[in-house]
Symmetry: C2
Subunit: 114 residues, 2 copies
DNA sequence: CGCGTATATTCGTGGGTATGAATATAATTC
DNA sequence: GAATTATATTCATACCCACGAATATACGCG
């Protein structure tokens, strides 16, 4: 059982986390929970340029987290693994705990931001 | 409820994910599951330099994921939120699914790598 | 206080990342 | 096939990250 393979797994694991390491991409994934969504709509929701939305979606596609389906001229992106949102929720919970322990009263915000 | 606050939450969320976006740090977190561990031991386990281990631990400390406690001259690092490992496990499961769907026969590796 | 051990920090460098602007591709309609 | 719409890609730029080497700090001991 080659050491290189094990390292490769951890590399892929890290790259998966890396895909989540951007506020825009996090918002995109949560937005996709409502079902397949066109690129333009995602861009509008996030208030970013179309090209930027495409770039972020390319990252998510590359990591295998979303799939794209064409319908006419518009591209619908679909969330592939809902478990990703569970993972994000878990980390959000950690963040909430951390902020509470830090003494800030930001807990209320946590309920809303999503 | 200011928009800036909500954006700040997502920024922090992303920074949390960013902390996980490195193979060495993932290994460190899993290693810390066994209880508080000195820096040198972590460095040895991962086969990295002491300074590099300290740097990675500084990132985890900065994101609030670990705490450091001094005992004499050695520093014991402790995992602060076990839920982080749950999140990592969820993502590992996603990775496993993805590799299986991709047709590779790397599933067996997934059982071991940790 | 000087020495050794354990850890932290700084610094330089190479490589990666996010973004807007511009351009390219793809499908639909006329 | 030209015009239109929706999306993708390329490019340049500014910023961030991982690493080793060197240096600094902190503690314990004599």
């Amino acid at each position: 059982m080659k050491r290189a393979f094990v390292e490769e797994i951890h590399q892929l694991h890290a790259e998966l986390c890396q895909a989540l390491a951007d506020p825009k991409r996090i918002l995109m994934l949560y937005a996709l929970a409502d079902g397949p969504t066109p690129v333009g709509e995602l861009a509008d929701q996030l208030g970013i340029r179309q090209s930027n939305a495409s770039q972020h979606l390319a990252v998510l596609r590359d990591r295998g987290l979303v799939t794209a389906e064409r319908s006419g001229t518009t591209m619908f992106y679909r969330l592939r693994y809902p478990a990703v949102l569970q993972a994000l929720d878990l980390l959000r919970g950690v963040l909430k705990e951390r902020l509470q322990e830090a003494g800030g009263q930001a807990e209320c915000l946590m309920e809303i931001a999503r």
